[in-house]
Each structure stands twice: as C-alpha cells, then as structure tokens.
C-alpha cells in the first residue's frame, strides 16, 4: 500500500480505523477456526452420518462455552495469585 500517501489525513484516518476493524475480524475468524477444530475432535468422535447425532450439536455448543469459561477462570486465578505475591 505504498500509495496511501496520496490520501488526505481524514481518509488515512478512516482507512486506519477500517484496517483495525478488519484485523479484529480476522482475529475473530482465527479463533472460530481454532474452536471448530478443537470441538470437532472432542465432539464428532464416531463415524460421519448425513447429519449430526443428537448429542453432537449440543456438544459443539458446550465445547465453545466451556473453553471460554476455562479461559476466564484461568485469567481470574492468575490475577488473584499476582495480587497475593510480593
């Protein structure tokens, strides 16, 4: 993007903000791919039918939620421990 200097300051600011939004979206996409792979392995263990079995769909949902719970729990615990250490 060597020609962005052709743009005026306002446009450059708009583009900068747009780029940030797109980067945030790209990070979101990457997380979704990560969870899909992880939860596929956890939940779709048998052979593949033409549709999900009853438990498989709810497993996928739980898998994502519990991962986020785990992540939040770990962050909380780390914060608590840092509060106590000298």
């Amino acid at each position: 993007m060597s020609d962005t200097n052709q743009f005026d300051a306002t446009t450059r600011a708009e583009l900068s903000q747009f780029l940030e939004q797109q980067q945030a979206e790209a990070r979101l996409n990457a997380q979704i791919h990560k969870f899909t792979g992880l939860c596929w392995d956890k939940c779709i263990t048998g052979s593949v039918g033409s549709r999900f079995s009853r438990g498989e769909e709810s497993c996928l949902v739980s898998c994502v939620d519990r991962f986020l719970d785990t992540s939040l729990f770990i962050m909380k615990r780390v914060n608590e421990q840092q509060g106590k250490s000298p």
């Binding site: 052709q6 446009t11 747009f18 979101l28 979704i32 791919h33 898998c63 986020l68």
Partner: protein, 106 residues
C-alpha cells in the same frame, strides 16, 4: 460473493478520485480477510475429513471414502457455523456484562 474469483471491478479510463481509491483499498483489504478465512476453512476441513474418512490410505479412493468425505464436508461446515454463532453470542454476552459491571461500579 466469490471466495476465489478476482475482483470484477472495472478499471475506469480516467484517474480515480480519492473516494474511489479509498473504496478500492477497502475492498482489497476486505477480500484479503475473506479469502484468508475461506482458505483456512478449506485446509482445516480437508485435514479433519481426511483423518476421519481415509484411515488407511489405499491405492485409490473408494466410493465409500468419497461418500464419507462428502458427508464430512457438510458436517464440518455446519460445525463451523454452530461454533461461530456460539462464540459471537458469548462474546456479545461478555461485553454486555463488562459494560454493566463498569456502569454499576460508579
């Protein structure tokens, strides 16, 4: 929306003004993000469905292996959508909860 095709935007014969150039830059960034997303999905799907459907690679693909891959693809797309929806819903919930926590602490 085409994942894999090139941009169909025609090139104007006169020089573009700033607004058009800005739109072109934005479109190009958008396409890059969407393209990367589609590519990642295909690569992951291929890996998972190969693992699942071709446990013992033979000298050619059997029709049952191909059927399996076909079903697996559909399921993987569905799984992707379920995960995407669950994740974005949860993110929204956490964001709302954070805002409420901030508001109530004043």
């Amino acid at each position: 929306m085409s994942f894999f095709g090139r941009s169909a935007a025609p090139q104007p014969s006169q020089p573009q003004n700033d607004a058009q150039r800005k739109e072109a830059v934005m479109a190009s960034i958008r396409q890059e993000v969407q393209g990367a997303n589609a590519k990642e999905l295909m690569e992951n799907l291929t890996e998972k469905c190969y693992s699942k459907c071709v446990p013992k690679p033979g000298t050619s693909m059997s029709s049952s292996e191909e059927t399996c891959v076909s079903r697996c693809m559909d399921l993987y797309f569905q799984a992707f959508n379920i995960v995407a929806k669950t994740y974005t819903t949860r993110l929204h919930k956490e964001r709302v909860a954070m805002k409420e926590a901030e508001a109530s602490s004043f």
